[in-house]
Subunit: 134 residues, 4 copies
């Protein structure tokens, strides 16, 4: 199964599309995405809402954890908010914490255009005995 | 400061509005919200995306942690996904883990219309020496 | 399989014994334990070390998640420290967040003798297709 | 304030001493420790107990977060268990996720002598307006 097909499959994520997340690159166990900050992402304090940051991280982790073609379901996500941002572009990069097993652990860093860390995220996925249904 | 004003302030959260979250009730240290599942919330596997569930939980926790009028900033959110849902209405309920201090800890449960738990969430907030700017 | 046997099995946890954790009661999906604070539990700031609190919570969650007789392995633990304690007795109570499935989610509250919350914990367990080996 | 004094201060952590944790090196925002696996660390399944792994990670994070001399209190720890170990030596390495601020975020990796990842941990610390009391 090639990664282009998996990226294609993930394009059908309507909440990520609503949020405006774009995949930059992906390879086995890895994914990088971006999101241009818009008015719609802001919370009442005029910084990007925690849910928008989580969605960016979770989508990036979800794609990375599925790059082996085996269906991986997210079971947990843990995010720490380090800096508020109101404009610019955010980048999320997901890496595996260890070789893929039944339970996969991923670390995602969200940075801005100056490479400052805005949030960090950890995701856990459970791999089913099933290929992704493309 | 009354809670109606704080609810009013939170209406200015544009990402929560985009997501379609509605406040049902709020009191000191407590908040309940709902979200009717729509096509826009679904991921590539046709269940509500983790980011939409997180946004629902995080917004509910955010409002609950600000009901004292003192500005509380989210520093961490941890969510566990227990069941996939494709339709219906989701409810989120936030409670304090302990009496409010500098660091506040909140537990949020997301349930469906049958009261089945869909996800559980923990949020940490840091209280600043500042009133909410209404 | 009865719960007395599972409690017996858990007595073979040598790190919990070193830490001085005692089981008070257990039933399906539930466990309550206690730990009398001693000199050995203290950190450099003279309050109970985070690791001792985690061990108490994790053991209580571990026992609760194994009360069905099916082997459950801990995959993640998340603890928030709410109050420092230097003396007295701590109690930990574990409850299920939802009905037991492949992935089990548990919430543990650590309180002192005045029922004040000292720490709260969430644990995730993965259930194997295997009975506990007693 | 020099780091040798901070390492000295952390030697007064009695639970870390009970657990057998040894500091290898420390510098600003960084710490590396080790723990030789002994019988006392094992759980009922004969692998190192989650609490012992947490204590190792938490202590390493605690020292790293205090290397600036400003008192940093742990508020949250999140650990994922990736592989069971029964013997050998474990190493924990803590790094900052971002430049130190009021809230500090640290990532700790626990590896064995073959550099295989056994567990990964994230810690959050709150920095008080106070120097460490040496």
């Amino acid at each position: 199964m090639d990664i282009e097909k998996i990226k294609e499959y993930f394009k059908n994520d309507r909440y990520a599309a609503l949020t405006g997340i774009e995949v930059i690159e992906a390879s086995k166990g890895y994914c990088k995405t971006k999101m241009k900050i818009e008015e719609k992402h802001l919370n009442a304090a005029n910084v990007v809402q925690g849910g928008a940051l989580f969605t960016l991280a979770d989508y990036t982790f979800g794609l990375a954890s599925n790059t082996y073609g085996q269906l991986a379901l997210a079971i947990n996500g843990n995010i720490t908010f380090l800096k508020g941002k109101s404009e610019g572009t955010l980048y999320a990069t997901a890496h595996e914490e260890a070789d893929p097993k039944r339970i996969g652990a991923y670390h995602v860093e969200i940075t801005d255009e100056n490479n400052e860390v805005i949030a960090c995220f950890n995701g856990l996925a459970y791999r089913k005995n099933q290929q992704i249904d493309l």
